[in-house]
């Protein structure tokens, strides 16, 4: 393959990259605060619905992204609030929100689809991909600086490692988690809007069966939820998914085989992460998914 062809290919998968990167990034911040996010696929889909409502209803794809971010942030606030105030299962609430998200997404998106049919003309222009990718990378760098260098970042990490010690140190656990919830999910919403408005440019009710939110989950896991290491992995997955048709044509395999590849890839990636030193370097927050209850017995 010539260098030009390679470059073309990379540029071609930039929309996919931007989508996966933003979703995985938002998911990472959220989980860094210690809350397990099993709602990711549902929020993803709901946000795509909100994105088309915004884009078509208000006439500009940017409004679509904003609306998607806002809707997702509301879900994020709800989830972090409920899971910090009440000592209940993160997984159960996450899964519930996943299904609710699917339903909400259909409600948002289907009405638009019936009203205007194709949303192609309401999407971002093809040239916008360069600016959007730059914005995405910039956001990534900012998030990295936030988490590593600021007090808010330390507070978020503290809540994820040991919310009890964090509270003893004086961190306002609920406020910190709410911020992480809003910010994290807003980015997920942003990424989801890029899915419909930049990448595939179609909205279909069956989108909720695609499971791309879970691919982003795997991406975030393998990259250790690190804003910078997410970049290459998001790029890889963007490629695996986006080039499905190419893979199909080149290797002459059925469509379903090509669709299978990213999922098998995700599985392999999760295995690679868990079984190598990566796991120690990119350890997950110690208190991820643990119900937060004050006044524990101690001995």
């Amino acid at each position: 393959m010539t260098p030009e062809a390679f470059l073309d290919m990379v540029i071609g998968i930039l929309p996919a990259f931007a989508t996966f990167y933003m979703v995985a990034l938002g998911h990472s911040i959220f989980e860094k605060a210690g809350i397990l996010n099993l709602a990711i696929d549902g929020v993803f889909f709901a946000a795509t619905g909100a994105a088309v409502v915004g884009a078509v209803g208000l006439g500009n794809p940017v409004y679509g992204s904003i609306l998607a971010a806002v809707v997702a942030a509301i879900l994020g606030l709800f989830m972090s609030f409920v899971l910090t105030y009440l000592p209940i299962s993160h997984g159960a609430v996450g899964l519930s929100l996943q299904f609710l998200g699917y339903g909400l997404g259909i409600v948002f998106g289907y009405s638009v689809r019936l009203a205007v049919g194709a949303i192609y003309s309401y999407a971002y222009s093809r040239d916008a991909v360069y600016e959007i990718t730059l914005v995405a990378l910039a956001i990534g760098v900012l998030v990295h600086l936030l988490v590593e260098k600021t007090k808010l970042g330390s507070a978020i990490r503290a809540c994820g490692e040991n919310p009890h010690a964090a509270a003893a140190l004086g961190v306002n656990v609920i406020a910190t988690r709410l911020i992480a919830g809003a910010l994290g999910f807003a980015l997920i919403g942003l990424g989801s809007s890029l899915f419909v408005l930049l990448w595939v440019r179609i909205w279909d009710i069956k989108t909720y069966t695609l499971g791309y939110g879970w691919l982003a989950f795997a991406v975030a896991l393998a990259a250790g939820r690190h804003p910078l290491f997410l970049i290459p992995i998001a790029l890889l997955f963007g490629g695996l998914v986006d080039l499905q048709t190419t893979i199909q044509a080149r290797l002459k395999v059925p469509a379903d085989v090509a669709k299978l590849v990213p999922f098998v890839g995700a599985l392999v990636l999760m295995l690679a992460y868990s079984m190598t030193r990566l796991r120690r370097v990119f350890a997950q927050p110690t208190s991820l998914g643990k119900p937060y209850y004050k006044e524990e017995k101690s001995i």
């Binding site: 490692e161 004086g170 961190v171 017995k297």
Partner: protein, 491 residues
């Protein structure tokens, strides 16, 4: 102060104390007496059902630690409340962020240097907390208190398990603190610690204030009687029998040049060798965090070994794992037994059956039931129902389930870490007596580590000290002077 916990557990009943400026005030009581509850109310961790807090005559509302800190009250607990994966600086700056106290990194470092200098211990502000020793972590906690402008410092058993020499470093600093107008309150269940520095001692028993003594009034006997009342007869810190009163037999636990890694990939156990024989009790003393936990976990097979060998009753089990060890008949009381040795959603019966049914496919419930009932009776486990879910039991009772179970299971050897932690003194004495009997009568080999030097001296035939991963000793628990052993404990 009056405080009741769910399940109608009365933790405190009508307890009133005065804390004076410029004084060390000790709150003395055995485990479960309520001293921790009292200071936690003062720090806002708990809220009392009845009672008031007055500072300099003014009534104050303390509903959470932030309120307490605003009133100049800061508490340091036995377990440092720090985030392991963050640095010292990051941890400290988090406290300040909350209260709106802005502090430049330079001022932060200056304070760290100043306080750690006074305590004669070097602390690197950019070091991650997991790499610090226990003493260093407690110093960081004191630094935190200083930076928060503490006027009343509460130490909730924070220094209890440090060797005397380390404690003295803190005392020197705290003396300066109190002379500058501060007040220090510390809780402990160790009488000598209270008698060391306290200007005033309050004694709690079963949630009630039973005595208030000044330094001149306090004697060992008077305090003992106040602390335990009638039960004082059942408690002893004296040895049950002389070391090696029963001659030991063949070697059961053999550790050769063992090297073990800790949780953060550091070398926690460095070339340790020892032998425990049939009927022998070997005790390892040492401040927490020096490798004792990792050593015992490796011996039992819970922690992988990086070098050396472990042989139990002639069988090399170095790379074999816990299953083999258990099958050989080894009982194990781990660190943090509530977390690692009990299942809260299961019943007491199930917790015990899980261990004793190891080899069977079908559980013989009748056998398990009678065994459980026997243990409940013998160790006075409350509530005395085998169908009770473990989560409903108090911490001390869960500990009883664990200890009774493991001691009974041990056929060849018993490995234990802090075997009587959290137990009231009567039960603790009973447990120690059981262990002694188990060794002498049933010829079980006992290897245990305890942060409580008194316990090690009372129970062992042979004493070792573990410091920074290395083993020192053996020492004779009766003949070796205590100060000499404590010297080895200092880092």
């Amino acid at each position: 102060m009056t405080k009741t916990f769910p399940g109608d557990v009365v933790a405190l009943e009508n307890v009133s104390i005065d804390i004076a400026r410029g004084e060390f005030t000790a709150i003395l009581g055995e485990n479960g007496a309520g001293k921790s509850t009292l200071v936690k109310i003062l720090y806002g961790v708990y809220v009392a059902d009845k009672g008031v807090i007055r500072i300099e005559g003014r009534e104050v509302q303390i509903k959470n630690p932030t309120d307490a800190i605003k009133n100049g009250i800061v508490m340091v607990s036995q377990i440092p409340q720090l985030i392991d994966r963050l640095t010292v600086e990051e941890n400290l700056s988090l406290s300040l962020a909350r209260l709106g106290l802005l502090s430049s990194p330079r001022k932060l470092r200056k304070t760290i240097e100043e306080v750690s200098g006074k305590l004669k211990t070097k602390i690197d502000p950019t070091a991650k907390v997991w790499s610090l020793t226990y003493t260093q972590k407690q110093i960081v906690e004191i630094i935190r208190a200083v930076m928060l402008g503490a006027k009343l410092l509460i130490l909730d058993e924070a220094l209890t398990y440090l060797p005397l020499e380390e404690r003295r470093k803190f005392y020197a600093y705290l003396k300066e603190f109190k002379e500058q107008g501060g007040a220090v309150v510390f809780t402990t269940h160790k009488i000598p610690e209270a008698l060391e520095v306290a200007d005033r001692i309050y004694v709690l028993r079963r949630g009630r204030l039973v005595g208030s003594l000044t330094r001149e009034e306090a004697t060992l006997d008077k305090v003992r009687e106040l602390m335990f009342g009638e039960a004082a007869k059942q408690i002893t810190y004296e040895r049950f029998s002389e070391p090696y009163s029963v001659p030991p037999g063949r070697s059961i636990i053999e550790v050769k040049n063992l090297r073990v890694l800790g949780d953060f990939e550091e070398l926690a156990v460095r070339d340790v060798s020892l032998v425990v024989r049939e009927g022998e009790i070997v005790g390892i003393a040492g401040v927490v965090g020096n490798g004792q936990r990792e050593l015992l976990e490796a011996v039992v097979g819970l922690r992988p070994v990086s070098g050396g060998a472990i042989i139990i009753d002639g069988v090399e089990i170095t790379r074999k794992g816990v299953s083999t060890t258990r099958e050989l008949g080894v009982g194990f009381i781990p660190d943090q037994p509530l977390r690692y040795a009990a299942s809260s959603e299961n019943t007491v019966l199930e917790n015990i059956a899980a261990l004793f049914s190891r080899k069977n496919l079908i559980i013989r419930w009748n056998e398990m039931k009678s065994l459980t009932q026997k243990l409940i009776r013998e160790f006075a486990i409350w509530p005395p129902r085998e169908e009770a879910h473990v989560k409903l039991l108090s911490g001390g009772n869960i500990m009883k389930v664990v200890v009774s179970r493991e001691i009974t299971y041990a056929r060849k050897a018993l490995v234990a870490y802090n075997p009587t932690r959290g137990l009231d003194e009567v039960t603790a004495t009973h447990v120690r007596r059981c262990i002694r009997n188990k060794a002498e009568k049933e010829r079980v080999a006992v290897l245990f580590a305890s942060e409580d030097l008194d316990e090690v001296l009372q129970l062992s035939d042979s004493v070792y000290v573990m410091n920074s991963g290395k083993l020192y000793g053996p020492f004779d628990p009766v003949k070796t002077p205590r100060e000499e052993i404590e010297k080895f404990m200092v880092v």
